[in-house]
Amino acid sequence: MFGLAALDLARVQFAFTMSFHIMFPAITIGLASYLAVLELCWLKTGRQVFVDLYHFWLKIFAVCFGMGVVSGIVMAYQFGTNWSYFSEYAGAITGPLLAYEVLTAFFLEAGFLGVMLFGWTRVGPGLHFLATCMVALGTLISATWILGSNSWMQTPQGYAIVEGRMVPVDWLRIIFNPSFPYRLVHMSIAAFLSTALFVGASAAWHLLKGRGNEAVRTMFSMAMWMALIVAPIQAVVGDMHGLNTLQHQPAKIAALEGHWQNEGKEALPLLLFGIPSMEDEETKFAIGIPRVGSWILTHTWGGQIKGLKEFPKGERPNSLIIFWSFRVMVGLGLLMIALGAWSLWLRFKKRLYEDRRFLKLAMWMGPAGLLAVLTGWITTEVGRQPWVVYGVLRTADAASKISAGPLALSLAVFVVAYLFVFGVGIAYVLRLVRKGPQAFDTTRIPQGGPGRGRTPARPLSVPEAEASANEDNLT
């Protein structure tokens, strides 16, 4: 197909399935925690607005979670079907990390998800809140293990090579490898920020349509607080992550800055535009601000970093791709900071829910977090090429010996299935968003645990006699 070799097909398939998958966990990590916060607010204050918002976002969460589960199973099997040599070579180390993800995260999420989605009329409010918290915790534990595994592949340590296989020597060093803390914090914040922007955009849409009821205003306000506080933190964490990468993967930094060689003791500019060319070994049409690059990368005004030419040709990541993916990510991040700052100003002016230009920006920024997540992952994953385990195993050696025919078939099947299924799924999510938060009937909550009377744990809602009668009919 298109004259691509088997290796290219396997890489395209992984990139395609991964890019779709990552969006759903990013949203569900953020939404699960948001739902836990909403339910806690409801239990504490008893205000109807929180329970309305909870059920509004719960439906959206359920759809995203379902899509995350099915696209995630594909990832779990793809390591074996398409990257069997990697699995065999490094499986003794990555395998247990992934197995622990299943045991401590996937089961936790799945086990409590049913109660979270359908248990409202079957368990008491306290137990239901516990279920929400367990699902939220599960999403974060899952991120921890999978990022531990990914970070180990980026900055491997704590292993030995015995009889041509990587074997574990020190599990603590494997899990707490140099890039792990930065990647974990950067990605978790990215998930929260993506969710905040999505929530904010949904609210902004309703506000622009003139349907700004209390629930819509509450979620807009919560989302904008989140953007205000978290977006600057993300910039600081991103900077630390970058310095860590410079230390452990200098070729990645050189490529994403389009930096080929140092001229004498000249400081690095910050390139705002440029077309890096791998063949000509230079960045064409470069436009930059002098010295700022040095300041960002070394935190000094005259510092230098290794240029791409200092690395053998066969060990350079594609500069053109990550030069731009990195700039898109950073640009979006700066926009998020600006959005947060603007929201604070409007809050101060008491025009947060009225300023149409601001609401339009907030609406268009809805997918910005997810786009930043995608471009960020493209930067880090393309940037570690040609290695799959950095400095140890090349991507070209990691693939299964599958011929191009079945690979082309599977790629075609995935493309058609994903575009249809996830296209429709996203349309359903937007349909739910359009519907907006509805008043939720709290009389459907039982008084106690499964079928047993108990003192109502929540403050305002009055348990009615029909609640327990309803319970027998509802499932």
Binding site: V63, S84, Y85, A92, N473
Partner: protein, 335 residues
């Protein structure tokens, strides 16, 4: 005597795959029974009977895969490329039926038939290709060195395809008996009526596989018919007969849980029989569990947590089943 941690891991993988077959078996089965139940109200009830638990059921498949990678990386690296296309088709089937749970209840009347079809077709595809994978696995996976040495279409042979049909029947029976337990009224009667022919079909499939396997698999024949294995295995067909009798007997009365339990017993027997047939190989016929084992440091590290966490998983999963116990009402619990 040395503690054989590799054998413990083989048992854990066996347990996860068995849990998967039983648990996702009945909810895939429900999808396959959709064609027999046209009314929307009944279809809603069928889906609602598994909606709170299907995700947990499917997680056992992921545990089986990742557990295999952790404890037996070589087996993972040989079996998965060896079963490339059947596994890809299974995954695509799982995608369609998995999203159908959420999409079907979000769809309007015009769109719902698409997701009914996705639920049916996806369940059927996933079940069939799981059976094909199982059949191809039992037929033996050619290996050279440490990688798969066969062709991309080796699975397209009579035995794997027959195994695919067998698994479809087994899952449909599990689904029907699950619904006998979970539903009332007309749907209950219909499932009771369907379970009987499905039982006979399954028995026929078991008989075919039991004759075919030793005839085509020289190694298996040796294992089955040598002494003292013959004596040890001899209760298996008797237990199959007893479970089938129990199932058919229970269906003739006004049953609740019994048909499902009997169907579980049948699946457990078939599954155990297969495991005994390949033991101690993890990639039949060439690689044993000890040859495929990960370094001891890996197996130990993974086992410690597994032994702590697995009982907790069983406890809270059991609790989730308990919360959603009882018959599914027609009003439906879906949001």
């Amino acid at each position: 005597m040395d503690f054989d941690i590799t054998a413990v891991w083989a048992a854990i993988i066996f347990f996860s795959v068995f849990m998967y077959v039983v648990l996702d078996g009945f909810d895939l089965g429900i999808g396959m029974l959709y064609p027999f139940v046209p009314a929307k109200r009944d279809r809603d009830a069928m889906m609602n009977s598994v909606a709170p638990i299907w995700d947990g059921n499917e997680t056992w498949l992921v545990l089986g895969g990742e557990g295999l990678l952790a404890a037996f990386p070589v087996a993972y690296a040989v079996i998965l490329p060896g079963l490339y296309l059947p596994l890809i088709f299974m995954l695509v089937g799982l995608i369609f039926r998995g999203v159908a749970f959420e999409f079907r209840f979000k769809a309007n009347d015009r769109e719902r038939p698409i997701w009914d079809l996705a639920f049916m077709g996806g369940s059927m595809t996933a079940a069939f290709f799981q059976g094909v994978s199982l059949g191809a696995f039992l037929s033996g996976i050619p290996v050279s060195g440490r990688s798969y040495a066969g062709g991309p279409l080796d699975w397209f042979a009579p035995f794997p395809l027959a195994a695919g049909c067998g698994v479809v029947i087994a899952y449909a029976l599990l689904g029907a008996t699950w619904l006998v337990m979970k539903t009332e009224g007309e749907l209950y009667e219909r499932m009771k009526a369907l379970a009987r022919p499905l039982t006979w079909l399954l028995l026929a499939a078991v008989a075919v596989v039991s004759v075919w396997t030793p005839l085509s698999q020289h190694q298996v024949a040796e294992r089955w018919f040598s002494f003292p294995n013959l004596l040890i295995l001899s209760p298996v067909p008797l237990l199959v007969a007893a479970s089938s009798f129990w199932l058919l007997w229970a269906l003739g009365r006004d049953p609740h849980r019994q048909p499902f339990l009997a169907a579980l017993a049948l699946v457990l027997l078939g599954f155990t029989g297969m495991a005994i047939s390949i033991w101690p190989h993890i990639v039949p016929p060439a690689i044993t569990i000890w040859e495929a084992a990960a370094p001891r440091a890996t197996q130990t590290f993974a086992l410690v947590g597994t032994l702590i966490v697995l009982p907790l998983i069983l406890a809270y999963t059991g609790w989730a089943y308990y919360v959603f116990r009882g018959k599914v009402g027609e009003s439906g619990g879906y949001h």
